[in-house]
């Protein structure tokens, strides 16, 4: 056996009160009946008990301190774990719950029901809720924005009409009450949980409740301005491009983003203009060759100044 002072975490000059206090503190921590299934706690507790038995006896403590006996002579107390009895069949006598009578033939649901709160019906039979089942579903960008109904075929052949509300985001989950696994013994069914993956769109991208769109315009539309048609998730709309627009100019289309839902106002659509020069045009080339800009500026000026 190790040094009993060290076992209790004490110095050699510890008083009787120190010894008692140290033992109490460690016993609370390591008592095997409070740590069922933990073999280390049991070993530790035996060592603590033996150390305490030696040090709490003034005569033995004095002998040990003078080196007349060593700690190994200390018989560990005949200690019977209450746990060993309580976890055996005799323990039913001190049982608190419905298990006091042992198992009935149809008892499995009862055990888990009473442990985890399954409902108990009037005739005393346990009903358990079915398990939740998980699915994942890819939806097109516009279906997620505008909402849609999709038919789902489940592994068991059952079909489900899944209503996707407008404005669903990538990764969100829809819960279908009662469409999961069947309940046990008349209990309610579990839920089906469908996680959505939103597919990317060729020209719309989503930013929160707003949508961004890269809108190509001709040189003439950019310089002279005028109405153009732009796609939005709700259909095509006419947009007025201001005269003198440039690549990168943002046009805000209020309320044309994610539709309004549950108290949230509709988002906006930002159309970002991209000037397309198009195929070579001899007339345009001839014009530009002879053209002297009125405000001749170098668009790379700031870049050159820094390099």
């Amino acid at each position: 056996m190790d040094d009993p002072y060290a076992t209790l975490g004490l110095a050699k000059d510890a008083s009787a009160d120190d010894i008692r206090a140290a033992y109490r503190k460690l016993a609370k921590q390591h008592h095997p009946d409070l740590n069922p299934g933990d073999a280390q706690a049991e070993e530790r507790f035996k060592a603590i008990s033996a150390a305490h038995a030696l040090l709490s006896d003034p005569e033995k403590k004095a002998q040990f301190d003078r080196g007349e006996i060593d700690a190994s002579g200390e018989p560990s107390r005949a200690w019977r774990s209450y746990r060993d009895h309580a976890e055996g069949s005799a323990g039913r006598r001190y049982s608190r719950g419905p298990s006091a009578e042992g198992w009935a033939a149809d008892d499995l649901g009862d055990l888990f029901g009473s442990m985890f709160g399954g409902g108990r019906s009037a005739d005393g039979e346990i009903k358990l809720r079915g398990r939740d089942e998980f699915y994942s579903l890819s939806v097109a960008f516009l279906d997620a924005v505008n909402g849609a109904t999709r038919r789902l075929t489940l592994p068991d052949g059952k079909t489900l009409d899944l209503k996707i509300p407008a404005g669903m985001e990538d990764g969100q989950t829809l819960r279908l009450k009662g469409e999961g696994g069947p309940g046990w013994n008349g209990g309610p069914s579990g839920d089906a949980l469908v996680q959505l993956t939103v597919e990317p769109h060729p020209y719309f991208t989503r930013e929160g409740d707003d949508i961004r769109l890269e809108l190509p315009v001709t040189l003439k539309e950019a310089v002279l301005g005028g109405p153009v048609e732009a796609p939005t998730p709700g259909g095509r709309v006419r947009v007025r491009v201001p005269a003198g627009s440039d690549s990168g100019t943002e046009l805000r289309l209020r309320g044309r983003g994610i539709p309004a839902r549950q108290g949230r106002p509709a988002g906006d659509l930002y159309a970002v203009l991209r000037v397309r020069i198009g195929k070579p045009d001899p007339e345009l080339e001839a014009f530009l060759r002879d053209w002297t800009p009125e405000h001749g500026t170098n668009p790379r000026e700031t870049m050159e100044a820094r390099s």
């Binding site: 109490r24 976890e87 719950g97």
Partner: protein
């Protein structure tokens, strides 16, 4: 199985009044023999030792003891039932069912449901 006199002799810190009070609280429930005397079985003796340790070594006052005992009884109850269930599975369930069960539990433990 011992009587109350032997019990009190076995634990120096225990007085007969303690045992009678604990019985009145239903913390200890020994059998009563046909002749009307008390019979403490192994489990009752071990339980009394545990109550003594809780009270004297861990300084859990008797007013807090019912809470601790109730929680311990529920803990041992659940562990006994789990043990019985485990025994029953070992005896009754085919090997592939036990394996499937173990796989499923391992998945739950690793958070992959």
């Amino acid at each position: 199985m011992i009587g109350i006199d032997d019990l009190v002799t076995r634990f120096p810190a225990l007085r007969q009044a303690d045992v009678e009070r604990w019985m009145a609280h239903s913390w200890v429930r020994p059998h009563v023999t046909a002749a009307g005397s008390l019979a403490f079985h192994e489990i009752d003796v071990a339980r009394i030792q545990l109550i003594l340790e809780l009270r004297d070594d861990m300084e859990i006052g008797e007013d807090a003891l019912p809470v601790v005992l109730s929680l311990l009884d529920q803990l041992f109850d659940a562990r006994r039932r789990m043990r019985e269930l485990d025994d029953a599975l070992q005896r009754v369930a085919p090997a592939e069912v036990r394996r499937a069960l173990a796989d499923h539990l391992a998945r739950i433990a690793s958070g992959r449901s």
